[in-house]
Amino acid sequence: MIASNKYLWIFLLFFVAWIPLQALLLVWYGTEPVLAWPDAVISNLILSFTCFDVRLIMRYYSSEKRAWYMPLLWTSGLSMISLLLLKFAAGYFYRDDRGSLYLFRQSLPLRLLFNFCVIGAFVLLDRLLYYVHIRQEENKRKSDLEKISKDAELSLLRQQLQPHFLFNTLNSISSLIGTQPEEARKMIQQLSDFFRATVRKDDQNFVDLGSELTQLQLYLDIEKLRFGDRLTVQIDTENSCLALRLPPLLLQPLVENAIKFGLYGTYGNVLIRIGVWVEKEKTGNGNLIVQIENPFDPQTAQSENGTGFGLRSVKRRLYLLFSRNDLVQTRINDQLFAVTLKLPQTKS
């Protein structure tokens, strides 16, 4: 809005420059010079105030109510009002000079036209600047979104391909080969399926929860084999939720985070709970809610300052997709850390 403020000053300059011109014009038509000045000053004051009012009003109407006639209606209405105000004021400063008052009355239609044009021009300019601004914001948001989702996907890939996950898993497989070759085969299969699904997700389209959970399960199976009895994951979902949509690869970094904090922040057995449900709303299609809960130790956790790149990137991604900041909530309840995602369901 800084740019449009610059234009406002230009407009103000216009009023200041117009005052002497109007005064000269009035004198030219026979108004007493002493009276022409207050007329010019006061009428332009009223006009400029009206212009700023109209700006506020148009802001209020902003983008939601885009009816084309609204600016026109407001321009007409306000030029009438400004004229009435002027007429009221003129009653005072022309009270001793009947000739000038007569001239003033004669000029009313002309003044109305003038006011209409000035206010109209102001409204047009304001609208124009406003739309340019909106468009710029939108473009910026769009390019940010593209960039961030690409980044998110890349970093997700990188995270999933993070060597130590792969190396540790291979080490587990190596161990299984000696003792339980069948299990080793199964783990190789799971690892392959997991990486294949990760690599395949190349588009930005939303996916349904069912397939996202299947993908998650592949990852969880591997982690469960690695950490054995220490790790339990419980997924509570209703069948009705499985068709709901969400951005791809959104849950994975959060679950990874939860597992990491659970396993490396505490000694005991770790239960990760993933809850999925629908939150109905009066308008719209409601929200898909996903909650991920992990145990943590408040004392050790505060010394780990990287509270999850995963969480930050998910927050950012959802903001860019839905332009809302309230979609990711975290809650600490005694020894439990919970992340709740709210995923608005748009018409598909």
């Binding site: 060597p163 130590h164 190396f167 540790n168 291979l170 080490n171 587990s172 497989i173 190596s174 161990s175 299984l176 000696g178 003792t179 084999l225 690695r226 950490f227 054995g228 009895d229 220490r230 396993l263 490396y264 922040g265 505490t266 000694y267 130790d297 004392q299 050790t300 505060q302 010394s303 780990e304 300052n305």
Partner: protein, 263 residues
């Protein structure tokens, strides 16, 4: 007979080592631990000659386990998926550094080195040529990374009795030299850690901690005021009321850190 303990938070990683160790009849696996605290207890109890140590583990890392060990120290073979700690590991006199996943041959080599070392052949216990798995360029990176300013300390682990105490940096008020130890002072407690002041000065973030005296490191946000003491010297008064002497250079550094160099 050589006694060994395996410390790893992944059961399959433990069973792999157990499996690989079968061919070494001279080694007896006395205990398997899944976190550092259990490991410390087990090491105190069994006094093993050799430990296999993972690095990333719950709450305290493999390195922190090493810090807390008491003499006599066992031989250490690291077993981890992270290659970036190799240099640090050898600085801690590790016998070898196994990168997961590793082959039986590579494992045997490491264990043989340990056996030689325990048989009183120290030459084979050194780091020569053991990082063959890591390219030399990478090695250079590792060295420069480890010798550059670290500041990566985010907690201090200490032993109190048989338990391990983890002190988040936020709780520390100041550190004080104490013979061969450093005394770590928190609001309600103090702990001794066998490290040098220089170690802490290097490892702590200088924006938060400042060495203001040969024997003192302060947490900057604990300072409430600086008072003159005697004719030439100054003390820093902490929130707790404790007065910490400042050396001349310490006073100058402190003024600079607090942005008081204007006058």
């Amino acid at each position: 007979m050589i006694k060994a303990i395996v410390i790893d938070d992944e059961p399959l990683a433990i069973s792999l080592i157990r499996d690989y160790l079968r061919s070494f009849t001279a080694i007896e696996l006395v205990k398997e631990c899944r976190n550092g605290e259990d490991a410390l207890k087990a090491i105190a109890e069994h006094k093993p000659d050799l430990i296999f140590l993972d690095i990333q583990m719950p709450k305290i890392s493999g390195f922190e386990v090493l810090e807390l060990l008491e003499e006599p120290l066992p031989l250490v073979i690291f077993s981890t998926a992270y290659d970036e700690y190799a240099v640090k590991a050898f600085e801690q006199n590790a016998v070898d550094y196994l990168l997961k996943p590793y082959s039986k041959e590579r494992f045997d080599k490491a264990v043989n080195k340990a056996l030689n070392a325990s048989a009183g052949n120290p030459a084979s216990g050194t780091a020569s040529g053991v990082v063959s798995g890591i390219g030399s360029r990478k090695m250079d990176n590792l060295i420069s990374a480890s010798s550059g300013p670290g500041h990566q300390l985010n907690k201090v682990v200490v032993r109190s009795g048989n338990a391990v105490r983890i002190i988040p940096l936020q709780e520390i008020q100041y550190l004080e030299a104490y013979d061969d130890y450093v005394k770590i002072n928190t609001a309600n407690d103090c702990f001794l850690k066998k490290k040098t002041m220089q170690y802490f000065e290097d490892a702590l973030n200088p924006d938060e901690f400042l060495r203001v005296h040969r024997s003192f490191i302060l947490k900057l946000d604990q300072i409430t005021k600086i008072e003159p003491e005697g004719r030439e010297s100054h003390v820093a008064v902490l929130k707790s009321g404790t007065k910490i002497p400042l050396s001349k250079t310490g006073f100058a550094k402190l003024k600079q850190s607090l942005g008081l160099t204007g006058h």
